[in-house]
């Protein structure tokens, strides 16, 4: 479904992506993990066509993403920093998305009201709390009936009940429609449950990419968190004791 080949992207002299290869099959929930500054957000922004890559190729279903509205119409992207029109309320944004996404599902929009009771659809989104703004973005995204869902730190600001509910909606679409999800997150406990594939990124490269099944076999009694620290920090990693 998604093919990323040898992608590089620099900002000035800083090389944020340094030859990234990544393959995501349809119906996969692909977890992207890595330390701060690894290049996860840059990769997601290249994948969604926000950035143009310096070299390499990114295709979805064989078609390049950059400046390609046919492909982008089948994708939704929930960035870490949300953006809405300054005075818009949820209903206004719904109408905007409905105009852009051909598959926008009004029936879903109405039905999902029940899941987001705290969101007042007539209140300007900028007046909602951070968590509620995030709820709005999921609500609208699920209604777009996307084939590909790209999420950057999706659970940031959401309470545990809401996180559970939203993942449940996403996994329902994964199992029925074969929706493909790429998610960057530091919440490894959660990724362990919802992902079927995990890629570990560091210094603009993918260090390892494996099916969850294979990782579980390597883990033994380790948690994904311990595995991550070992992969990124190296075998002999220790926390620094330098305060006193």
């Amino acid at each position: 479904m998604i093919e990323i080949k040898n992608v590089t992207k620099s900002f000035g002299t800083f090389r944020a992506l340094d030859g990234v290869d990544m393959n995501v099959r349809k119906g996969t929930v692909y977890g992207l993990v890595g330390p701060n500054g690894a290049g996860k957000t840059t990769l997601l922004q290249c994948l969604t066509g926000v950035y143009r890559t310096d070299s390499g190729s990114i295709t979805v279903d064989g078609q390049p993403v950059y400046e390609n509205s046919d492909v982008k119409e089948r994708m939704v992207y929930i960035p870490d920093e949300l953006y809405y029109f300054s005075q818009a309320n949820t209903r206004d944004m719904m109408k905007y998305y409905r105009g852009i996404y051909r598959n926008f599902d009004m029936d879903r929009f109405e039905r999902l009201k029940e899941a987001f009771p705290a969101v007042d659809v007539k209140r300007p989104i900028r007046k909602l709390s951070k968590g509620m703004r995030k709820q709005v973005s999921f609500w609208l995204s699920i209604c777009c009936r996307p084939e590909v869902v790209i999420l950057d730190e999706p659970v940031d600001g959401l309470d545990p009940v809401m996180r559970h509910q939203i993942w449940s909606f996403l996994l329902s679409d994964v199992s029925i429609n074969g929706t493909t999800v790429v998610v960057s997150s530091h919440n490894l406990r959660e990724l362990e449950d919802v992902c079927s594939y995990v890629g570990i990124m560091n210094n603009g490269k993918i260090l390892s990419a494996q099916p969850m099944e294979a990782i579980e076999e390597n883990l033994g009694s380790m948690s994904l968190e311990e595995y991550f620290i070992q992969m990124v920090g190296g075998e002999n990693y220790e926390v620094k004791d330098i305060l006193v």
Partner: protein, 125 residues
């Protein structure tokens, strides 16, 4: 309904397998009763459908489930599955018993523990 224990060190698919297997053996899921679909379990437990699929696939290989194309998975009425499981568990406890022997536990002490379990005492006593 299955509840997952997040402090449990076992992989999630194994937890799901163990709980479903226990329910089938205990008769809480009756022979030929339909199990929840992969989607239903994935959505209720908030677990990747692949993980559920894997648990079902392995339970089927163990003989506790059978699947009907287009209809879903059903509990087996199979006594042989039960016996196969006994065999597996027996193999699992054998090295532990050997270790107890090496640690110096005498046979009567172990037998007493076993009778206690058979009389309905808790395994943690």
């Amino acid at each position: 309904m299955i509840h997952l224990d997040y402090r449990d060190a076992r992989p999630i698919y194994e937890q799901i397998k163990d709980k479903l297997r226990a329910e089938i053996i205990a008769g809480k899921i009756l022979p030929d009763e339909k199990l929840p679909s992969v989607r239903e379990l994935a959505v209720k437990l908030v677990i990747n459908p692949n993980t559920i699929q894997r648990a079902y696939r392995e339970l089927e290989a163990e003989g506790f489930l059978y699947s009907v194309a287009g209809k879903g998975s059903f509990a087996s009425a199979n006594q042989a599955a039960n016996e196969a499981r006994m065999d597996t568990v027996l193999k699992q406890i054998t090295p532990m018993i050997a270790e107890l022997r090496e640690l110096g536990m005498k046979e009567p002490e172990l037998l007493e523990h076993i009778s206690h379990i058979y009389e309905g005492g808790s395994q943690d006593d």
